[in-house]
């Protein structure tokens, strides 16, 4: 039983992480947030999302078939969810900033908020705001 909990927690964390990455790619494609997307074409974002969110949700749906023993308590679920959310978020912003750095170089965010990420990456937007002005 002692071995079950860490494995379940890791599985829960992994599935949430994958699902959040997929959802962020769906919304990036749908909302034209080029600066957050990993891909240059929307269709690739949707395919990526389908191949991550789908299996992750299927994993949760079939949880008790695969894990007949042990449970993750509510407080632990909350903790692992927030951890996965934070890491998936940082990973997505860092990866998309790296992948889109050259393509969006020279752009300047005209607006505040998410609208800025239609023109620049997250880190470019932050640099324009807080860093050296170009």
């Amino acid at each position: 039983m002692d071995q079950v909990m860490p494995r379940l927690a890791l599985e829960y964390f992994g599935l949430v992480f994958i699902a959040i990455m997929g959802v962020l790619q769906i919304v990036a494609a749908y909302n034209d947030l080029i600066g957050v997307s990993f891909f240059s074409r929307k269709i690739y974002s949707y395919l990526f999302a389908a191949s991550t969110v789908g299996p992750a949700l299927a994993g949760f749906f079939t949880w008790h078939l695969r894990n007949p023993f042990g449970v993750i308590q509510g407080r632990e679920q909350f903790g692992f969810f927030m951890l996965a959310l934070t890491i998936a978020f940082i990973f997505t912003l860092a990866t998309s900033s790296l992948l889109k750095k050259k393509r969006l170089q020279g752009n300047y965010a005209q607006q505040d908020g998410l609208e800025a990420l239609r023109e620049v990456t997250f880190f470019q937007a932050l640099r324009h705001r807080f860093g050296r002005k170009q």
Partner: protein, 202 residues
């Protein structure tokens, strides 16, 4: 036998007769699938709403939903502290689809907390009602799915109907109160969102 117990036995009496429906409702009823799905919907609404005015409305609702689910959890905890009601599979002859048989040597693998009120139902109703107040379409879908979750937890044998109703009422009432509170606290929620917008995350 109370009406609650009779209704439980009637609904739970269908369990085990249709294997496909059993598997579907077992997937819905587990502690992870629907709660994580609801949170993913919140994430999608936060970033995915195109129109700025509607997005701001949704984002306030999401802040409200997050607060509501935390407060609803606290209220359920207080109920559990003062009142314990055993799960139906402890008290009644139940078609238990979900956990190991209660005489299994591999215990514990079933919940030992109070059946009343349903915590997961309180959470999903808090989220659904909070979103319904800002975005009807998304809210109605979430509310429909929350109702299926509630039903499935009776069907698989882990809650009485009264547990589900109480959980739904706690979640809904909390969401309404938080919605009102956010309105009263204006312009602070808008200022908070503006601050988040300045860091390009809203």
């Amino acid at each position: 036998m109370s009406a609650d117990e009779r209704l439980f036995l009637w609904i739970n009496g269908f369990a085990g007769k249709l294997p496909l429906l059993d598997e579907f409702l077992k997937g819905i009823a587990n502690d992870y699938f629907f709660i994580v799905s609801s949170c993913l919907v919140l994430l999608a609404l936060w970033f995915g709403t195109r129109e700025i005015h509607q997005r701001e409305k949704n984002q306030k609702a999401i802040i409200g939903a997050s607060l509501s689910l935390g407060i609803a959890t606290g209220i359920v905890g207080i109920f559990n502290f003062f009142y314990f009601h055993p799960r139906p599979f402890i008290e009644l002859p139940t078609n238990l689809l979900f956990y190991q048989p209660i005489d299994s040597p591999l215990l514990p693998n079933f919940p030992t907390d109070s059946s009343f009120p349903s915590h997961s139902t309180a959470i999903v109703f808090a989220i659904a009602i909070a979103i319904l107040l800002a975005d009807k379409k998304a809210g109605i879908i979430l509310l429909f799915l929350a109702s299926i979750l509630g039903f499935s937890r009776i069907y698989v044998g882990i809650h009485y109907p009264s547990d589900i109703l109480a959980g739904a009422a706690i979640g809904a009432a909390t969401a309404f109160l938080i919605f009102r509170l956010i309105r009263i606290l204006e312009p602070w929620p808008s200022r908070l969102l503006r601050l988040i917008r300045r860091s390009y995350l809203a």
